[in-house]
C-alpha cells in the first residue's frame, strides 16, 4: 500500500545536523570540520537518485549556519564583532546556550514525530466524500457569488497567456545566449586601448543582468589566460582591469 521509497535522511537545520552528529560521537563544536560536513553531504547525494536542488541548497544553508556557530566559537572576542546571541558570552555560557537550544529543538522534533504518527492514523479514517444529496443542492450557499462564466473564462485566458509568455521567455533565453567569446573580445579591446578600465565602464548603464554576468565571466577568463590583471581595493569596491602585454596580442 505504501510506495517503496528510500527515505534519505535530510537535516532540517543546523540543530538537526548537530543532533545527528552528537548522537553518533562525542563532539566538540570546534571539531565540526567543513570536510566532515562535505562528506555528510556527499553521502546523502549518493543516496539520492537525482540531485534535488532544494535538498542541496538546504544542506548548504545548514553548513553555512554551522560554520557561523563555529566561527563564533573560534573568533577571538573582538568588541566590534557582533554575532547576535553568541557575543558577550563566555565559552561555557555559549555552550550552555547551545545545549539548551538543542534540547528545545529535540523536544519539538519529538512532537513533530508524534504529529506525523497522528496524521498517519488519521489517514486510516475517512470522512464521507459524496457531498450533499441532489435535492439539497439548491440550498447550498453560493460560493461563486458575483462570479460570471465570462469572468472565469477571462481568468483562464489570462493565466494561459501568462504561462505562454513565460515559456516564450524561457525559450528566448535558451536560444539566444550571450556570447562569452564576444564579450571577451570586447573587454580585451577596450582594456588594450585604454590601458586600464573599471568594471562598470565595460557595459552600458542599465545593462541586462546577464550581460553584466557574462562581462564578469569574460574578465575572469581573460585573467586566467594571463591577458589582464585585476585589482580591487576594497570589499565590493570597483574592480580595476589592467591591460597586460601578451605575446599573442594579434588583434590590435
Amino acid at each position: 500500500m505504501t510506495a517503496f521509497k528510500v527515505r534519505t535522511e535530510i537535516f532540517e537545520g543546523p540543530f538537526d545536523l548537530l543532533l545527528h552528529l552528537v548522537g553518533r560521537q562525542k563532539l566538540d563544536i570546534r571539531d565540526i570540520t567543513i570536510s566532515e560536513i562535505a562528506d555528510e553531504f556527499l553521502e546523502h547525494i549518493e543516496r539520492m537518485k537525482d540531485l534535488d536542488l532544494d535538498v542541496a541548497s538546504d544542506f548548504l544553508l545548514v553548513a553555512a549556519t554551522l560554520l557561523e556557530i563555529k566561527a563564533a566559537a573560534l573568533l577571538p572576542a573582538e568588541p566590534d564583532y557582533e554575532l547576535d546571541e553568541y557575543d558577550d558570552l563566555s565559552p561555557q555560557e555559549a555552550r550552555a546556550l547551545l545545549v539548551e537550544r538543542l534540547l528545545a529543538y529535540k523536544q519539538f522534533k519529538n512532537a513533530a514525530g508524534a504529529l506525523a504518527a497522528r496524521m498517519e492514523s488519521e489517514g486510516r479514517m475517512h470522512a464521507r466524500q459524496a457531498g450533499i444529496e441532489e435535492q439539497f443542492l439548491g440550498l447550498m450557499p453560493d460560493y461563486l457569488e458575483g462570479v460570471t462564466l465570462r469572468g472565469l473564462a477571462v481568468l483562464c485566458a489570462d493565466l494561459d497567456r501568462r504561462r505562454d509568455v513565460f515559456l516564450l521567455q524561457a525559450e528566448h533565453v535558451a536560444s539566444m545566449p550571450v556570447s562569452l567569446e564576444l564579450h571577451m573580445e570586447s573587454v580585451k579591446r577596450t582594456v588594450a586601448k585604454r590601458g586600464r578600465a573599471s568594471f562598470s565602464e565595460l557595459f552600458e548603464a542599465g545593462a541586462a543582468p546577464e550581460v553584466v554576468v557574462v562581462t564578469f565571466l569574460a574578465i575572469l577568463e581573460l585573467y586566467k589566460r594571463g591577458r589582464i590583471d585585476i585589482t580591487q581595493d576594497s570589499l565590493f569596491g570597483e574592480i580595476q582591469i589592467v591591460h597586460k602585454d601578451g605575446e599573442d596580442d594579434d588583434d590590435d
Binding site: 450533499i132 444529496e133 447550498m140 457569488e145 494561459d160 497567456r161
Partner: protein, 203 residues
Amino acid sequence: MTERAELRGVLEALLFASDEPVPASRVAKLLEVPEGDVAAALSALAEEYARDERGFQLREVAGGWRLYTHPAHHPVIEQLVLSWDTRRLSQAALEALAVVAYHQPVMRQGVNAIRGVNSEGVLASLQEKGLVREVGRDRNQGNAVLYGTTRVFLERFGLKDLTELPPLSEFSPDAGTENAIRDRLSAIEGPEFEEEGGDLSVD
C-alpha cells in the same frame, strides 16, 4: 466477531466512503466472497437500517447500492444546509476553478503549471465545496488524480454540459470590458477570507 458481522462492517465502510453506487459484484471480487453472500448481506443491512429507524437508508439503485439520508429527516437537513455559512471563493480558488473548467481533465501538476503556484489546498477546498471533483486517474502518470468540474458547477452557471463553456479564444487580452471583469474579479479577494475563530480556510 462472526463472519457475517465482519462482512457487515466492511460493507458499511465501503458504502460510507464511496461517492457513487457500489456494485455487489465489485465488492465480491474485492473481498473474495461469493457475490450471492455480498448481495444477501447488503439486503440484510438495508432491512436492518429500516427496522432500527436509522437516520440513513441503504437502497439499490442503478449501478449498485448506495446510502441515502432518510427522507423523514429532510426538512431538518434543509435547515442545516441553509445554515452553512457563505464564504466566497478566494482569487486563488477562482483561478484554480477556471483552469480546471477549461483544461479538464487536468492533473494537479497541470493546474500548478498554469497558475505558477502550488494549488493543493485550493483544489481540496474546491472539492469540499462540491465545485471540483476527481474525474479519473492518469495511468501514465502514476495514477495521478485528474480533476474536473461537478454537476453543481454546471448548474450554477446554467450549462447543459461543458461544450457550452464560452470558448477561450473569445477573450482577447485588452478589450475594455474584460479589463473591467478582471478588476471585479481581483476585487473579490480581500478581507472576507480572513478567518475567524479557527474557521475552515478557503484556499
